[in-house]
């Protein structure tokens, strides 16, 4: 039963996304415009700057696309969900939904970066994998923060305020990991850094699942 509710919750969110195409295309436009502005300002930068710009773009795309996961719901509707599902199921569904959304957006922005800002990538496969892991990490953190922001009077600005310091280390780890895919420099400790990132992701999910029920109660 819980998996059924989980699937139907995710399906509901994705369906809403598909039917209200204006929000989906709004985010897509946001991604396109951001990459274009970056391109207009920097042209085709060297590899290290490319990497930094890419992850910065990811951060802003994450804030804007994941913010919708909780903030797009009307506050009163939470009470309705409250009667239907367990809070952990609800949070998991939101995490899956925002991860899917951000994965798509990240891949689009990676494509745009390659087209506009040039292609410094030595190992494209590895970079795509790191992008995927990165968007999972960012969306997990921001989904939970969006839940906090939704409870705090639907204040979207709060999400950025709370989120930026929290995800800075995640972004630092990600851009260091990604350097391996860009330049063939030998990086000692790459695997332990990757392990730290994965542990951090697991920790965020576990913490979210523990804490969300408290947030959920009125």
């Amino acid at each position: 039963m819980p998996t059924n509710t989980l699937v139907s919750l995710v399906r509901k969110d994705l369906l809403i996304e598909w039917r209200q195409k204006h929000t989906l295309f709004g985010v897509l436009l946001y991604v396109g415009a951001t990459v274009f502005v970056v391109y207009m300002m920097s042209g085709q930068p060297e590899a290290k700057i490319w990497n930094a710009l890419f992850w910065l773009t990811q951060l802003f795309v994450a804030v804007n696309s994941v913010a919708k996961s909780f903030l797009q719901e009307h506050p009163n509707r939470f009470r309705y969900y409250f009667t239907l599902v367990k809070p952990t199921t609800f949070l998991l569904a939101k995490i899956i939904y925002s991860t899917t959304l951000l994965l798509a957006m990240s891949l689009v922005s990676l494509l745009l970066f390659n087209v506009l800002l040039g292609n410094p990538l030595e190992q494209i496969g590895l970079f795509v994998i790191i992008t995927c892991v990165g968007s999972i990490s960012l969306s997990v953190v921001f989904t939970f923060l969006s839940a906090i922001a939704a409870r705090a009077n639907q204040n979207a600005a709060l999400m950025a305020i709370l989120g930026f310091p929290l995800v800075t280390p995640v972004l630092m780890i990600l851009s260091n990991l990604a350097l391996k895919a860009i330049s063939p420099v030998y990086q000692p400790g790459w695997w332990s850094l990757a392990a730290v990132l994965l542990l951090l992701d697991a920790l965020v999910v576990v913490l979210g699942l523990i804490l969300f029920p408290f947030l959920w109660q009125e």
């Binding site: 709060l158 800075t168 951090l200 913490l207």
Partner: protein
């Protein structure tokens, strides 16, 4: 007055730290020279900060467990005192860095980690001030506090150890433990840690008492005439 003894201890320890810290012998080291005495002030600030944030973390868990607003007040005041100590630690650290590393800010991973944790706790204050409803504020800020602490503290401890740092004990620099922190320095350093931590605790308890009175005052349904 039953809780008087640790305040006396705190004053004694700190008096000893200041007097002993400036007068007792220290090892003569290149570059560091006499600034090594800052060890008695800079490092204990960080210990006190971590302990105060830990206290705040524990009271946040207690709040979620009990729903008692008193625990929320404890948690908030511990955080505020912790932020004060993080500022003091940052200032003493930057001053020390100017004399030994040459710059106030030299992109050291530990400095970065600390700057990040300060930003996180500033965000906590913003979050608290943004919410008017007491119950809601308590609940949301407790949730954020637990989330931030559990994510941040491992990062502060783990990440700087994985990259090179200018701090002693990292990236080939000798740690104070190996030979610098000799028995003379230990005699001042350990009391200093205890003294500064007790001072932080004392400040926090005073702030908590004021906040509790305020809380009581706000929540008692008396007319103004009755209060007097």
């Amino acid at each position: 007055m039953r809780q008087m003894w640790w305040k006396v201890l705190c004053v004694l320890m700190l008096a000893y730290t200041v007097v002993g810290g400036f007068l007792m012998p220290v090892p003569r080291l290149n570059i560091v020279n006499e600034t090594i005495r800052n060890l008695y002030f800079h490092v204990p600030m960080w210990f006190a900060m971590i302990l105060l944030f830990t206290g705040s973390f524990i009271y946040s868990i207690k709040y979620l467990h009990s729903g008692d607003l008193v625990h929320d007040i404890y948690s908030a005041e511990f955080t505020k005192t912790g932020i004060l100590f993080s500022l003091l630690g940052m200032i003493t650290g930057m001053e020390w860095a100017k004399f030994t590393w040459g710059e106030f800010w030299s992109n050291d991973p530990k400095q970065l980690g600390t700057a990040m944790s300060m930003l996180i706790y500033f965000a906590y204050l913003v979050l608290r001030n943004g919410l008017k409803d007491e119950e809601k504020r308590a609940k949301i800020s407790a949730v954020y506090n637990i989330f931030a602490y559990a994510l941040m503290i491992p990062l502060i401890w783990v990440l700087p150890r994985m990259v090179d740092s200018l701090h002693p004990g990292n990236g080939g620099n000798p740690g104070f433990n190996s030979y610098d922190l000799d028995s003379d320095m230990r005699k001042v350093f350990y009391p200093a840690v205890i003294g500064w931590f007790l001072l932080g605790l004392w400040m926090a308890t005073l702030k908590i008492r004021v906040a509790l009175l305020q809380h009581k005052d706000d929540n008692s349904f008396q007319f103004d005439t009755e209060k007097q």
